[in-house]
């Protein structure tokens, strides 16, 4: 029995923004006459799906376009190994032959419009009045896939994986791995059997690429004209390839206890000065705490003080002997000196906050669900203007020695679709990596607005080796600084030389 269009994947759950509901209603309200809604989807000539009326629209978003309702072609036909052409027939008797640029059927969507169905791809849209779509392709004969998962929300991700497996009739074996970087590298070195797909984060790239543990996600090397806009893809790309398909992200956020901070800050003047004042007037044993020893937490301040990019594009290392770093350190040291900031490592800081002993901490949004479960009173704010949050992207990579690289790519394409990303991210308190999917997840959990604001101003954690070198060296040097064993100028001069040498000499 061919699948019913739209039946396989439920519509976005009720917790949806008002604006979105209106948009959906409008989309559904422009139904055509019954005949115009008739459409047939075929696969190599044989009918795969037929539906005379669309009941449950599957909401997607086209890149660069506004939100619309439709059904990804990839969800209607079997998985393909090689996509040859798409033959489109229209109500007026005409036809169109599309030769897709790649094998990704999930990038093609059947969309209802006021004058009939259209077929929309990344770069083109047919005219309205589509009555038949015949996908000509080589069916994928792979039947099993293995996936390594990590971090939060694994149960939800596994549910989505199960849905993918059932829908397409493949076996997917997923397992939780504490550290996918270590496991991928170790497996490659030992010539073991890696999973076909593994979740990674962007700063894993240098180790994984160097070890030959992953392969580029070739179909996705055709990046948008402004890759800087798509921060998720920038997080997993170097100057040659896209190495993973981004899935979701976390962000640096400000966490505060309103009982100790005297309420929320004045968001009308939520900048570095406003943040400073907010922290200074807080009560509690500790007014503000974060791990100032770590460059991961210092760098947002450095960027906020005017550093244009973490890695110097000409010198190809993280230069620290510059004005922005100096200013950032003076700022942080002043907060320490006047008692506003207590430098604490992550576990201690979190314990203090949970115990109601710290009024304000800087943390990652990944920590928020844990706090919810503890019933701790807290509010979340984005980093203020003048402090640039890091965006921590997680994505799916294909192992270089995958036995099923094509099925792995189909998996990545499926999980790259906005609706799937929104559904999963909404459940696990993340944001979808595909920023076109933001409206789909708006309001689905309490942090969506903060995370969306963070995305606007944030930068991905750098994926170059130079960043890791900088982070590792600064860990030691910042301790000297905060211990008073060096002054800022001494520390920066020494650090810069060490970082440059370590970066150049591997």
């Amino acid at each position: 029995m061919p699948p019913v269009l739209g039946k396989e994947f439920p519509i976005v759950p009720p917790r949806t923004s008002r604006t979105y509901v209106v948009a959906l209603a409008l989309a559904l309200s422009v139904w055509l006459a019954k005949d115009a809604r008739a459409i047939e989807v075929a696969f190599n000539g044989a009918v795969a799906a037929r539906e005379s009326a669309l009941e449950d629209a599957h909401i997607v978003a086209a890149s660069g376009a506004s939100l619309f309702a439709g059904v990804p072609l990839g969800e209607v036909v079997p998985l393909v190994a090689e996509l040859h052409e798409i033959r489109v027939s229209f109500r007026d008797g005409s036809s169109q032959l599309i030769r897709p640029p790649d094998d990704n059927l999930f990038a093609w969507t059947l969309v209802p419009s006021d004058s009939g169905w259209r077929l929309t791809g990344s770069d083109e849209t047919t005219k309205a009045g589509v009555t038949r779509v015949d996908v000509r392709a080589v069916r994928l004969d792979a039947s099993s896939l293995s996936v390594w998962l990590s971090w939060e929300g694994i149960d939800t991700i596994e549910s989505e994986i199960a849905r993918f497996a059932e829908h397409f009739g493949v076996e997917v074996d997923s397992s939780t791995v504490p550290n996918t970087r270590a496991k991928l590298v170790a497996t490659e070195r030992a010539r073991g059997v890696p999973a076909d797909v593994a979740m990674i984060q962007s700063d894993y790239l240098p180790d994984l690429v160097e070890a030959g543990a992953i392969q580029p996600v070739a179909p996705f090397t055709r990046l948008e004209p402004s890759p800087g806009v798509n921060k998720g893809r920038a997080a997993f790309a170097d100057d040659r390839y896209l190495w993973a398909e981004p899935f979701y992200f976390d962000s640096h956020v400000v966490l505060y206890n309103p009982e100790l901070t005297g309420g929320s800050p004045d968001f009308a003047s939520w900048n570095r000065d406003g943040f400073t004042a907010f922290a200074r007037r807080s009560r509690g044993e500790v007014r503000a705490a974060w791990n100032a020893y770590s460059a991961y937490w210092l760098t947002p301040f450095v960027l906020g003080f005017g550093k244009e990019s973490v890695i110097d594009p000409d010198l190809e290392y993280v230069r620290v002997d510059d004005e922005a770093t100096r200013d950032a350190l003076y700022y942080v040291l002043r907060l320490v000196e006047d008692g506003t900031l207590t430098v604490m490592e992550r576990d201690a800081m979190t314990s203090y906050f949970v115990a109601g002993r710290a009024a304000l901490i800087l943390t990652g949004s990944y920590a928020l669900p844990g706090l919810d479960s503890l019933g701790v009173p807290y509010e979340v704010a984005p980093y203020p203007e003048g402090i640039v949050p890091f965006l921590d992207f997680k994505g799916f990579a294909v192992s270089r020695r995958s036995r099923n690289p094509i099925l792995a790519r189909r998996f990545l394409e499926y999980f790259a679709t906005p609706a799937i990303q929104a559904r999963v991210a909404g459940e696990i308190f993340k944001m979808p990596a595909n920023h076109h999917a933001f409206p789909l997840v708006a309001g689905r959990h309490r942090y969506t607005e903060v995370l969306e604001m963070s995305y606007e101003r944030g930068v991905p954690v750098p994926n170059q080796r130079a960043y890791t070198v900088y982070k590792d060296l600064m860990w030691r040097m910042l301790r000297f600084l905060f211990a008073g064993q060096m002054d800022i100028d001494q520390m920066l001069e020494r650090s810069d030389a060490l970082i440059l040498n370590a970066t150049r000499n591997g």
């Binding site: 190994a81 996509l83 040859h84 052409e85 994928l140 010539r191 392969q215 580029p216 020695r401 036995r403």
Partner: protein, 466 residues
């Protein structure tokens, strides 16, 4: 005077000169690609090698349907490609290790865009996959795999084929091993794969005797030691070479102990009896090889060599420019490698003083620029790269020094004349400043001494006036 092998010397010149990122053009078809092969050994597979195998009877064809229609692909079996590096043979003819394939090992095929697919050979018949280089009679830009196998494996635009042969724990370690060479204050690191691909590679029998009187004789494969070191540092009589093993053992040699004596030479061996030397006593050990299985005391055969320290004068770079039907620049390492593999030594007498000069016969160098199309070993071996007709008809050859001094010779007197050489060494040493980097000399007993020949020193250009 040593006889030179034309094919081998020009192979070295051709392979040393070929730009890193492109293959050698297949003159028949114009296809220019190379595929990295990695297995028990490594090999760069060029288009002309596959074509040669196809014309020699290894051609296979398969019909396949893809997005553009039905096509007939031609090439050789992937198993024949595996034969280059599966260890059954370390030289031509490449023997396919069928037993090993059927027992199963992993093969990873990578495309130029990074796409990679892996399979276990025990799950695929040796004749199931074609390494195709033609489609419907037309040459493909790069090879691809076709066959009655999963679509995954039908990789297009292949750049690399890896065979996971060797023990799992040793594989990566062997791949990661680097021989460290400390020359003056510079440190160089060389992989086993780079040594295996070096034009300095040689094989021969060698033997060492332990202090207990046990004798160990084997066939060893490795790189000529002195010539290898000369790539990084100038070797003189005062040079000392210290070998440091991974267990800390050190042995220092004076250079006189390491010099080549007739057909007996020291090598850095990394193969023993056809197989890579394992980490103990390898990956590298020092041995002498020669036709009569030369023997050395056991303590001089340093095993597990991890580092070599040499102090000497730094190497000076130079280029020989060949200008003719093609413009070609040959660098120092190319010329030195050619000399090391099998050069020619002549006795040249000048102003009553006789010296031994080692170099490359002049006519071999001319073959590189004497026609616009063919290069030595740049096409099917059935095609003669030498423009013999032009040489026999006669053209002028200018040998030009750095100060502009030039001598003109006739190709008819130079051609096939091994006794007229462009020398790189004098009495076993790099040329003195007055002659460096290259000098034209001829044997005192040469059968044909070209008219007008003079002892041109400091040569930097050969001009073929064709």
């Amino acid at each position: 005077m040593k006889k030179v092998t034309i094919t081998l010397v020009l192979t070295i010149i051709a392979t040393s000169f070929a730009p890193a990122q492109s293959g050698t053009p297949d003159a028949v078809s114009g296809a220019s690609w190379k595929v990295e092969l990695e297995g028990i050994r490594t090999h760069e597979l060029h288009a002309y090698e596959v074509r040669h195998m196809m014309t020699d009877g290894a051609q296979e064809e398969m019909d396949v349907e893809d997005r553009n229609g039905q096509f007939t692909y031609a090439g050789i079996l992937l198993s024949q490609v595996a034969a280059f590096v599966d260890g059954a043979a370390f030289e031509e003819p490449w023997r396919f290790d069928r037993e090993r394939w059927l027992a199963g090992y992993e093969v990873t095929v990578t495309a130029v865009d990074g796409y990679a697919a892996t399979f276990d050979t025990s799950e695929v018949a040796p004749d199931a996959i074609l390494f195709a280089i033609e489609r419907n009679g037309e040459v493909l830009d790069r090879p691809r795999l076709v066959g009655s196998v999963a679509r995954n494996l039908q990789v297009r635009d292949i750049s690399k084929v890896e065979l996971a042969l060797g023990s799992s724990e040793g594989y990566q370690a062997r791949r990661d091993f680097r021989l460290t060479l400390v020359a003056n204050d510079d440190t160089h690191r060389v992989s086993l794969a780079q040594l295996a691909e070096s034009p300095l590679f040689a094989r021969g029998r060698g033997q060492f005797t332990t202090s207990a009187g046990s004798v160990y004789a084997s066939e060893y494969g490795g790189v000529y030691l002195l010539e290898f070191l000369e790539q990084f540092v100038r070797i003189t009589d005062d040079t000392a070479v210290t070998f440091v093993a991974s267990d800390g053992y050190e042995m220092t040699f004076g250079i006189s102990q390491l010099r080549t004596e007739g057909d007996v030479a020291w090598i850095l061996a990394f193969e023993q009896d056809g197989a890579p030397i394992p980490i103990d006593p390898g990956y590298i050990r020092t041995v002498k090889i020669g036709p009569d299985t030369p023997n050395i005391p056991g303590h001089l055969s340093v095993k597990m060599v991890a580092e070599i320290r040499v102090s000497g004068e730094p190497v000076r770079e130079y280029t020989l420019k060949l200008r003719g039907q093609k413009d070609v620049d040959l660098d120092r390492t190319t010329l030195q490698s050619a000399l090391a593999f099998e050069g020619v030594t002549v006795t040249f007498t000048h102003r009553g003083e006789s010296n031994e000069y080692s170099g490359i016969p002049l006519h071999y160098l001319l073959a590189y620029a004497d026609d616009p199309e063919y290069t030595p070993h740049g096409q099917d071996s059935a095609i003669d790269p030498y423009n013999r007709e032009a040489a026999m008809r006669g053209f002028e050859i200018d040998l030009v020094a750095t100060d502009g001094f030039a001598v003109t010779l006739d190709s008819r007197e130079v051609y096939d004349n091994d006794e007229v050489i462009v020398a790189l060494k004098k009495n076993g040493e790099i040329l003195p400043e007055s002659e460096w980097p290259l000098v034209l000399v001829w044997d005192e007993d040469a059968a044909v001494v070209p008219n007008g020949i003079r002892n041109v020193r400091n040569i930097d250009t050969l001009r073929l006036k064709m």
